[in-house]
Amino acid sequence: AQRVTQPEKLLSVFKGAPVELKCNYSYSGSPELFWYVQYSRQRLQLLLRHISRESIKGFTADLNKGETSFHLKKPFAQEEDSAMYYCALSDYGGATNKLIFGTGTLLAVQP
């Protein structure tokens, strides 16, 4: 069954420390993975997607098919990175794609 697992509910780091938000997936086909972020009092928004292979706000994520992982990384955390982060898997079916979300990880960056 398709599934996304984010094992950490809360990740607390100090400003300037490296960050890694873990995401593992289970999918029978070729996965399309996303990271969404929700800052306080803002709507859920796309952070990055694996096919873009880009860095957004200093964050990167590499798809590792061998380990079925898509961990989100940033070398130096900033206080403004504090937010809820969701890993999502796109389950394609016909003309639409349905997102399967993990339970989310709350990142708290301490000063």
Binding site: V4, Q6, R43, L44, Q45, Y92, T96, N97, L99, F101
Partner: protein, 112 residues
């Protein structure tokens, strides 16, 4: 540019009452539309999606229903709310294959 509106932002309803949450999208045509729910301590779960007017697919059996009376309007309804319907409901739109989804602000529904 495309925008998505979802209302109300919060709603408190008694058990057994009806429900209607509305979502509209502007700036795009024939979007795929989605309703998600986030229950306490759980991730976002897809409830319904629609690829066109009058076309609704349900992902999980439940007390809720959805309708799409117009191209850019998506409504989540219930005839009789249950306590278990409490949660945070999000509407989203996307353009289909290989495209990300864009979310509304959400509705926090509390059932008393």
């Amino acid at each position: 540019s495309q925008t998505i509106h979802q209302w109300p932002a919060t709603l408190v309803q008694p058990v057994g009452s009806p429900l209607s949450l509305e979502c509209t999208v502007e700036g795009t045509s024939n979007p795929n539309l989605y309703w998600y729910r986030q229950a306490a301590g759980r991730g976002l779960q897809l409830l319904f999606y629609s690829v066109g007017i009058g076309q609704i697919s349900s992902e999980v059996p439940q007390n809720l229903s959805a309708s799409r009376p117009q191209d850019r309007q998506f409504i989540l309804s219930s005839k009789k709310l249950l306590l278990s319907d409490s949660g945070f409901y999000l509407c989203a739109w996307g353009l289909g294959y290989n495209q990300p989804q864009h979310f509304g602000d959400g509705t926090r529904l509390s059932i008393l």
